[in-house]
Every structure is written in structure tokens, then in C-alpha cells.
Amino acid sequence: MKFLKAFAQFWYDFIIGDDWKIAVAVVLALCVTLVAMATGALGDTALTLLGGVAIVVGFAISLAIDVRPKRR
């Protein structure tokens, strides 16, 4: 059990690192692009641009959460 916990912790540290918001932002951005692709309304060029913009927006939101003023 201890080994499994340490193993899981290693992979969490390796992939997610110290800011889970980045991983969530990337997954959400890719999901948005995937949904757009599933509708079949967009061609490859539009899909790639949407994906790129979604990643940038996700990253910007995670940064904004990082630097927001803390409530006291």
C-alpha cells in the first residue's frame, strides 16, 4: 500500500507538478476543441486555431487565479 501511494505520488508530481490548474486548463482546452470537432462544423484550420486559442485562454485563467488578491 505504501509503495502504491509513493508510486502514485511520483507520477502526480511528475505530470501535474505543483500547479494542478495548468493540467486542468490543458485538459479543458482540448475537450472544448474535441467537442467542436465532434460537431463537424469546423475544418482542420479552424479547429487548430480554436485549439490554440483555447489553450491560451485556459493558461491565462490559471495565471489570473494565481495572482488574484487573497481574501483576509
Partner: protein, 264 residues
Amino acid sequence: MDAATWGLIIATFVACFVEMVEATTIVMAMGYTRSWRSALAGTFAALGALAVVTVAAGYALANWLPESALQLAIGGLLLIFGLQWLRKAILRSSGRKAIHDEDAIYREEVAAAKAAGETKTGLDLFAFMVSFKGVFLEGMEVVFIVLTFGLNAGNIPGAAMGAIAAVVIVLGVAIALRRPLSMINENLLKYGVGLLLASFGTYWAVEGLGIFRAGRESIDWPGHDLMILVLLVAWLVLSRIFVAVLRTPASAATAPEVAVEVKK
């Protein structure tokens, strides 16, 4: 050698260089304060484990996954790594996060080594384990970057060449100087690597979403590989905008007085 191969070698060289500096700092701290024999034993054990992981992961990635699935998996992970590095670089440049300092990390490792107490057996387990963990963790990122960049470019030897050159240079400088490599502007290097990983990661992750459509064919970016350069410029410009917007008044006035960061 063509421009793409040079780009591949430079990308893996810079990424590996940063990770090697961090691993070397940890091993030097253990070697000078505890036992060189145990620190080097931990280092070689980690290198052996890394070699096994590299062969296994390389074979699995190259043979078991369709191209678009490979692009999605490694692109997604590169994107997460790259944006983590970019986030730290932006927060550091804007004065909202402490600067990474190898001297401070070295001092912390030395203090931990001294506090751990003497060992009675032949092998100093503390020095062995700290060195093993440091080299293995930093090395895993290098292995991942070399494999992914190499597989996608269809040039594993080129990617490995960049990584090996970084290992040789960092070890050579460390042996010559016999102290932590704090004179290297690691924050700037990390910023550069973050930009590279974010650009390649964005390109491959979006391309790889094609695994979910009929035929499992990758989504095509306009301009194909040339778009990676456009993405690189876009991430650079965006990161500078983020730095300008987030810059604190204190950091603009007293930039050199920013505190140092001990942890990665």
C-alpha cells in the same frame, strides 16, 4: 545537417542542460558533505534505472500507439510541462515569485545532509537515496523530452546527441569548478525551454485530437511544421504581455532584491 536537426539538437540540449544543473547541485552537495562513493553510487543506480525506462518507454511509444494518439499523449504532457515552466518564468519576471537560485538549493541540501547524522555502515544511505532521487527525477524529464522530440522528428539519435552534449558540458564545468553552477542564468534557460515545450506541445496536442475522428488521422495545422515557429513567437509575445500586465510596482523598482527560491 539541416535546420530541423539543428533545432532538435538545440531544443534537447537546452532542456537537458537545465535538468542536469539541478541534478549536479544535489549530487555535489551529497558528495562534499556526506560521501562521494555513496553519492556516485546513487547517481549510477539512477542512470541505470533511467536506461531501463528509456528502452521500455521508447519501444512502447514507437510500436504500440498510432501516430495521432502518440501526438495527443506526448503533446498534452509537453504542454503541461511547458506551461508550468512558462508560468513560473512569468511570475518570476513580474516579481511575483522568488528567483530560482542554485546556491540556495546547495546550502539547503548541505544543511539537510549535516542534519541527517552519521552513518555506521559502508554505504551512506542518505547520500545514496538523495542522489538517486535527484538524478532519477530530473533525468525522467530529460528522457521524456528526448523520446518525444526524437520520435516526432523521426530522429532519436539527433535528440540524444543534444542531451549527451549537455551532460558532458555540465559535468565538465562542475568537475572543473568544483562548486554549484550558480553563474548560469537558469531562470532565463527555463523560460526558453518553457516556450519551446509550450509551442511543440500546443502543436502536437491539437494535432493528436484527430485520434477521435473517423480514420484516426491527425488534424492538420495550416503551414504544417512551420506553424511551430508561429506558435513559438505567439507564446513569447503572450508571455511578455503577461509579464507586463502582472508586473508589481515593487519588482520594477527593486528587481535585484527579489527573494530567492530554494525549491524547484
